[in-house]
Symmetry: C2
Subunit: 155 residues, 2 copies
Amino acid sequence: MNTLKHFSASADDRSVDASTMEQVIGYRLRRAQLYVFQQFHQHFAELELRPAEYSVLNLIGTNPGRKQSQIAESLGIKRANFVPLINGLERRGLMIRRSQPDDRRSHALFLTTKGEVLVKQADQAQAEFEAHCVVRLGGTKARDQLLELLERLGG
Amino acid sequence: MNTLKHFSASADDRSVDASTMEQVIGYRLRRAQLYVFQQFHQHFAELELRPAEYSVLNLIGTNPGRKQSQIAESLGIKRANFVPLINGLERRGLMIRRSQPDDRRSHALFLTTKGEVLVKQADQAQAEFEAHCVVRLGGTKARDQLLELLERLGG
DNA sequence: TATTGTTATACTCTATAACTATA
DNA sequence: TATAGTTATAGAGTATAACAATA
């Protein structure tokens, strides 16, 4: 080992300057989103629900009887990718597809009783997690500001 | 077709109510991030740079001579995934690995002249894209607020 | 023994094309 | 001919384990 490194600014000693990237909105959005999803995963581990699965069950709960394509499109999920997602939820007995008499091409989605129970638990876990985020943001006003700014960004 | 559907609130007529999910920070973060990355992709199509590739080249440009592991860790990229990423950049002649005499295990990273030229173009494209985002956010003050809120969220 | 870079691998998410059954 | 759901598949992004060279 070179003892001179203690007196020179060798590459190993210098820390990485990421100040430019830290100012980039997209980069910071990505890092924050990954972090929040990681936290979500910890809070929802017992319920065995991933973010997309929770959003689907939540949406079916507040919109019973909608077609697959309606729920999928509302969440920005391609209908082809939606199929295996709800296959898993249906296999777990959390929701069901029902054929529609008036248009036998489409399937209406409903929560099962088991699904309703899980969604209630998940909504509770989500409320607690959200409260945790609000504290870190500095209050509900800061949270509202963040949602407003994200809204303006589009998407 | 059943003409009665014009008088009843059938599932096909109702739109999906996503108001609950719209209040969820993680969900809104995800949607906004996907949208911004999609916009980024359009702005950077000519340069053939994906977000991760731009961040790597930018960081090497401002931190020449750092080890692979330093750049990778700073961006939250696992060193195993960093290898194929910079393989592509090196194959395109945008950067090079250099063996370090003082520690022959590590590779120091540098931009090539071609890489420096591309990074300058990319920084320009990024500045324009960022300005576009700032306009949508409602000014630089709103941008600073957003970055501050994302900072508080952690990650 | 520990670290750096590498390879192999697997799992998730996302995107597209083509099929089926219905309309 | 068009639509809803499905299947197959391919491409990214991400995660872990194990290895070679070096410290």
